[in-house]
Subunit: 205 residues, 2 copies
DNA sequence: GTGGACAATAGTGTTGACGATCTGCCCCGT
DNA sequence: ACGGGGCAGATCGTCAACACTATTGTCCAC
């Protein structure tokens, strides 16, 4: 149940700020109110929804300032992940990572931002898997979810994919080379540039 | 409700592995099962309890390997926090931090491990407050809770407090000097040494 | 003595109803 | 016209009862 609701929130079915009324959700998903409540409590703990006593739950609105914080935390954790990935990647992993970057380059060349965005996510997730660090992996996945909307906007910035591609290539090269510290630095650089763009928006909304 | 149960788990009322039976908890806290269930769902999301379908909840057991992972994640996030704290500390903050280190030194001199452990926690929490980074703050607090038992064991290692004191002093000095990178490095060193001790245990249990 | 079916038990999962609380609106007095 | 009190609707929080599942212990055949 929780997964369904989470996917619908992330998929934009329930936009930020939308009220999540238990009774309505019971109809939509065909389950009892107890199940809905449990899901809401869980998603509240995840930071995806906000619950106020006797006032119900809403889809959490993430301000740009908060997205910056989230990305900073991601930089710290994904830096660790990149370092570990560099230390622990198998030959198969290396090959797969290189193939992914090539695909990304193709997406940039074809100006297919949608495909690039998907590959982007896949690369970050691959690194999480390779690093075999459950705790950081879970936390990063959560952080990514929380900032999902802003991340989406980011992909639409013209020229962004090209810039991002170079950074991703740097990360993968360091991981493939087995250079932990370099991988960590590259990952931090990458997310610092994401923060740069976010900060640029902060002035507007 | 959730807070009560969490405190009892952290306080050792319910040791790791203990079954948390809903009906018993309703008696203990004098609330309905619904409230207990909500609390269990929340603590499950926090990683403090484990729930299996139709089999109930237990206090989560944290292996030493997991404690290492948790501490690694803390190193990454508290590194960020230390850096921000160095950049954002006010004069009052600096004074308070120095006073805290002095108190810690006194506790070490007086071989009062209990007091030292408390001051230790207070120092880390102070840095979290000074850094004004909600996202990282929350995550670190959660990570600390999850590894609380191991953290407690750590304090009892003979000579540990002395070693730890020097590291804490280095952190505070960097923060007071406003040197972000140095603060981050010092914090990472500190937690790396914690990991060292944990790894040493890993062989035994 | 051992393995398998079966009943008893403990505990969770679900449902429906009821009371508490908040929100928006209308009415009324000024 | 305007502001405060109170009413009604909507929604959450809680509770008790029932249904379901997993586990444990027992009995019997072999």
């Amino acid at each position: 149940m929780t997964d369904l609701l989470r996917d619908d929130i992330l998929g934009g079915v329930f936009p930020p700020g939308e009220r999540l009324i238990e009774l309505q959700l019971t109809e939509r998903y065909g389950v009892g109110r107890a199940a809905i409540r449990a899901a809401l409590v869980e998603l509240d703990a995840e930071g995806l929804v906000q619950r106020e006593a006797n006032r119900g739950a809403t889809v959490r609105r993430i301000t740009v300032a908060e997205a910056v914080e989230i990305t900073q935390a991601r930089a710290a954790l994904e830096g660790l992940i990149a370092r570990l990935a560099a230390e622990r990647a198998s030959d198969g992993d290396r090959k797969a990572l290189r193939a992914l970057v090539d695909e990304m380059a193709a997406a940039v060349a074809g100006e297919d931002t949608m495909a690039y965005s998907k590959l982007n996510r896949r690369l970050h997730r691959s690194l999480c898997t390779i690093a075999r660090h459950r705790v950081a992996d879970e936390m990063v996945a959560n952080l990514r979810n929380r900032a999902a909307h802003h991340q989406f906007r980011l992909a639409l910035v013209p020229g962004r994919a090209g810039e991002s591609l170079g950074q991703h290539r740097a990360i993968v090269e360091a991981v493939v080379a087995g250079d932990g510290p370099a991988a960590e630095a590259a990952m931090r650089d990458h997310l610092a540039s994401v923060i740069e763009v976010l900060r640029h928006w902060e002035a507007f909304d």
